[in-house]
Amino acid sequence: MSGQLPHRASVQLREKVNPESVADLLGNRESAIGNPELAWPPHPLEHRLVYKNIGRPGWTSDIDCYLRDGGYEQLRQALTLSRDDIVNKVKNSGLRGRGGAGFSCGLKWSFIKPDEKRPVYLICNADESEPGTFKDRYIIHEDPHQLLEGMLISCYALNAHTAYIYIRGEFPEGATILERAIEEARQHNFLGKNILGSGFDVEFYIHRGAGAYICGEETGLIESLEGKRGYPRIKPPYFPAVLGLYMCPTIVNNVETLCNIKHIIAMGGAEYARLGRPNNTGTRVLCVSGDVQRPGYFEVEVGAVTMGQLIHEMAGGLRLGRKLKAVIPGGSSAKVLRADERLKLKERQTDGSTVEREISIDDIPMDFDSLAAAGSMAGSGGVIVLDDSRDMVWALNNINKFYAHESCGQCTPCREGSLWMQKITDRMLRGGGVVEDPKTLKTIGDNIAGRTICAFGEACAWPTQSFVEKFPEEFAARAQKPVPPPLPPEYTPDELIEEESIPTVPMAHDPGWEKAGARGTI
């Protein structure tokens, strides 16, 4: 047997497949449409920082292109600063995690003790799996060195000598690109021993996931990185910064968050904090998909555009003759917003007082706090738009299928509840909905959220709770059958028992064996 491996499996993402004709999928040709229309030039309402190079004409993912554009300058700059300086800059920047929870990055970092004796690990969470989100894909595929630079600065600030990039299994090309980028960075001495003569050693490794959504949860990710099933860990400790990978202090940050670190060093914390709104600083990438004319990614200052601007101006509005029905604003876990609902939003004025304003969903600024006040969340930035042709029971069923498939199975409410909710919506779609169904759905959701080890419980309960609450008429229309009467108590005729009994020979150790006689039965 030769020592040669066969050609590595080639993997090709096929986008915009024509459902009517799958011939292009089967032929050896590239996708019929090829790369989608790139979001370039950026929309006038955009503020490109992390996505500066995404889709940029002439831009390539290799290190030479990155260096020509002033790449790794912020790393050089950071290596002249003290660790506290960098952590303080990140704190002052007000940067909130871009993965979904929106937790303060500086605060997370400050949990690492400066005199920590154990090794500290940094993990880049590139397990982008939240339905509706595709921002990290472009950073990894088109600008990998920006991510590496952000990670290098973070490692230096945290005194972490090893970092892992946990990339989802469905990004094999992304993993290859990152491997190459790491090799390039090592050749330029940005990585490895004594980087740029600073005396700081750091190593990066790629760890590929294998299709489990739950590994985006940071403790599930750590378990997976340790070679186990991705079961999220029981809290407390609430933060892997206390006990993380290999029971050592660990910081897990999202791809986009780590890229922002580079820009915070470039701009300074205070200057960065002037982008966006108070407590919602910086820029973030919003991913729009669903029923809009120009779905795509848009990097905006947090809160600088409203949902209406995002959908109707930036994403080109709805298809001709269609009206907006609902928006899921932060990945499929976020609670759905109904197009015609009115919300009361408290707004902080410059003098510190708050004013309550009634607004429509078009007027919601796309920031963490406003979306939370609107009863949903900014989540991972994945905005899914549904128009008036959509059946909300079908949409919820689709989401329920996702969560039923992805529940790790560790906690009973989630394992059983997610599947139960899917079975109910399945039945409703098949025409078997009973009047109790909407109420049952809500009850199941209520009994999952807050009763599980990780936030997946909320993530799978919120869609059901909000869909049923916001679109009661559609659920009621599909839940018309009367509740069937309870089945009569089970009765089995004696002769059947006689027939079905299994003759056995009593054994000496069976209790009562001496009384059982020759025709022992169980």
């Binding site: 915009k16 340790e226 186990k228 991705g230 499929s332 949409a395 689709n398």
Partner: protein, 155 residues
């Protein structure tokens, strides 16, 4: 029981496996379970019983420690897929854009019989009779703006 010692592993594959193990602290070899399974699957096409024993031995683990990983992660398969394996996204944005129709038409043109919903849970991959193609519904592939999305892997 499969005999792990009788399997011939190409030297190049084993070299790559050793390189993967070296990426983790020596006292945490278990971390290399997933990278080794990926390498194995890329080479052999699927993860059979012998793989579970061989990898367990390689990492000083019990076979169950490997089997539990194989069955937990949807991308690891215990049966061969087709030469071209097509993953079709069925999650919301793709589902709305026709991902389900893609699957239907694909199966029709390849003559593939899809498993029923209950079977699909444990056996999501359906292979064409000649073993050339296989199809599988997967969850979000993170390219929702270009829906419907498929992922084709050729061996």
């Amino acid at each position: 029981m499969a005999d792990a010692t009788r399997i011939q592993i190409p030297a190049e594959l084993e070299r790559r496996m050793d390189a993967a193990i070296a990426r983790y602290p020596s006292e945490h070899r278990r971390s290399a379970a997933m990278p080794l399974l990926h390498l194995w699957q890329e080479h052999f096409g699927f993860i059979g019983d012998e793989a579970i024993f061989w990898i367990a031995e390689k990492l000083d683990l019990q076979p169950i420690n490997i089997l539990e990983v194989v069955t937990f992660y949807p991308m690891f398969r215990q049966h061969p897929a087709g030469k071209t394996h097509i993953r079709i996204c069925r999650t919301l944005s793709c589902g709305m854009a026709g991902g389900l129709e893609v699957m239907g038409n694909l199966c029709a043109s390849l003559g593939i019989q899809r498993p029923s919903d209950s079977e699909e849970t444990h056996n999501p991959i359906a292979v064409s009779a000649d073993g050339t193609y296989s199809v599988e519904f997967v969850e979000c592939l993170a390219s929702c703006h270009t829906a419907p999305v498929c992922n084709c892997a050729r061996r």
